[in-house]
Symmetry: C2
Subunit: 216 residues, 2 copies
DNA sequence: CGGTGAATTGATGTCAGTCAAGGAGGGTGG
DNA sequence: CCACCCTCCTTGACTGACATCAATTCACCG
């Protein structure tokens, strides 16, 4: 992969990575840090598409289609591996296994979006919050980021609210409920699951089948 | 592409194409007809992920990941072009431009799902229905399927309801409202847009930028 | 012409949104 | 070092958009 790499980019906490409507000349892979994909309506309403974690691919849309339809920003300081858009095609002709990895990531993303859609369309607030916490925990766990039962979850409550299609107020109250039930506790950027069993029941989330991720 | 093709499949109206949880040995391209991707929760609640139209790729998840996480069924009689999963890899080594097409389709799908997510998370019922009708109309239009101002839209109201995260009843009432406003009329499987301008305003939908789709 | 699934409509109920007001922590500058 | 802001989190009271319930009506079909 190294031969297609243009460089490394460090974005400070809160900084923009890709902008909705823009054509970026770059494609990124997240090496470290956490971010947020989001989309805005004309009147300012925001939808968080998903939470970005290490290993994610950013900018596929702008590499292939005319422009991004969502923005990406850094929630914490992030380190990104940068690839040039205009060399994207070379990947297919010269490094088919890399091209395969990209499709793999795209397929995984598509799956995750389908799950999110189901959360927003058909789950209650409690179920949504539970499923979201479970997903973050699992992903962190897969990335070996869980230390002594605590997963990093550096986003704000309003980010979660916008990801789940709920108001901040109701998200807050729902988080409290999960805390009172001693199921899960997300405070100060740290997520702790107290009752995995119960959380799964509430979340009605797809069982995660350990997908072997191709090295990138 | 022909060399990777295994055959052609015709599925009758209402028939299954791919099942949630199954590992399919096939990957499909839709040649003709309309379908539905959907996902179920344990208690039977259903979420329609999206509407399937000619040109769509089906089964990417099962080709790359361990299994499908949603089902696909035929809404009308469908004709599919079938590819073998176990020859998927050959595409990358022997037909890079085809592999590129697949990523292109995946990127477009990802974009569409992001838009759906925004609809469900942040739009009112009226906005959602308007956006959904607009999207169906546009896609049909791109496929040259609009005849004298009428686009085919063979799904049931309950399918649209499940796609938008609304109840059937409310979807029905909302459709009526759009009809009374003489904005759009979806009856008997036919969609007619009376006031494109107004529909766009209500929908707050992303402007479609004519993406050149690679031939497949 | 009964039977079945879809569309339609009105009445009633509720989950989550909005409004409004505090707290709690973390910078900044006087 | 403390007064000030800011941003985020928290909580209670009220409201409203959409769900649910319950009939019809319609269209198609054997």
């Amino acid at each position: 992969m190294l031969e297609f790499r243009v460089g490394e980019l460090v974005v400070e906490k809160g900084g923009p990575i890709l902008d909705e409507g823009a054509e970026s000349p770059h494609l990124y892979t997240v090496l470290d840090g956490f971010g947020l994909r989001s989309k805005f309506l004309a009147d300012g309403r925001r939808q968080v598409i998903n939470f970005v974690m290490p290993g994610d691919l950013l900018g596929l849309q702008s590499a292939l289609l005319s422009e991004m339809r969502h923005s990406v920003e850094a929630t914490t300081k992030m380190t990104l591996c940068v690839f040039a858009r205009d060399r994207f095609w070379e990947l297919f002709t010269e490094a088919p296994s890399r091209a395969y990895s990209i499709v793999w990531l795209a397929a995984r993303e598509e799956r995750a979006l389908g799950e999110s859609l189901t959360m927003l369309g058909r789950k209650t607030a409690l179920e949504r919050v539970a499923a979201a916490l479970q997903r973050v925990y699992r992903r962190a766990s897969d990335l070996q980021l869980v230390k002594s039962g605590v997963a990093p979850m550096p986003w704000r409550q309003s980010d979660l609210a916008d990801a789940l299609g709920l108001s901040i107020v109701h998200t807050n109250k729902t988080l409290r409920k999960l805390r009172e039930l001693t199921v899960a506790d997300w405070t100060n950027g740290s997520l702790r699951i107290h009752d995995e069993e119960r959380l799964s029941e509430i979340a009605d989330f797809d069982p995660e089948i350990g997908e072997r991720r191709p090295l990138f």
